[in-house]
Amino acid sequence: MDKKKPKKVFVQGAIPPEKIAQSIANHQSKTNIGAHSIFLGQIRADEVNGKAVGAIEYSAYEEMAEKVFHEIREAAFSKFDITCAHIYHSLGKVKTGELCLFVFTSSAHRKIAIDACTYFVEEIKAKVPIFGKEIFEDETHQWKVNK
């Protein structure tokens, strides 16, 4: 059932740590779960030519991104015996040290939860049309490219 609910992935601004606690707490009634795996992306203060990144401003081709997130979910549920999966990604400005990605997978067994979480992270990085403008402290910017 969890699988079919339409999910909103994008959130405005940084993902607060309390959202993660809340998501975890929401799973304590699901007593068929034995393992949760969580991945969090955090904005790094990378230095480029002596200037440090102060924030990343995310934008996306939103309609396509939501469609691709949905396809990734469908593929993950057919590949892995997970009980549930949640993804949140920021849009707009996220400052260094703040969280921009939250992937949360659950299963009866640890290996499945961990493998599914890794699968989501790699698929999101490779396939979802999200764009990031790295804003330096002096207000100049450059465009981020996933490696």
Binding site: Y58, Y61, M64, V121, K125, P129, I130, G132, N146
Partner: protein
Amino acid sequence: MKITIKYFGILAETSGKKEEILEVDKGMSAAELKGRQIKTYQIPEEESVQLAVNQNLNTEVELKEGDEVAFLPPFAGG
């Protein structure tokens, strides 16, 4: 025929546009449209630009009236 073009990230910056509606010849391919817009806006690093036709990365298609073509720079999610 009319085609809606969307530009994202650095491509919106380079073209100075987020969206435009173009009148193009019937039978134009996505690859031809890409070449034409890259030239028009002098977009560098052509090989890093992906097109999505109606939200689909498979662009080996002939364009149709009303199609939405997105010009996508490298992804940076996560």
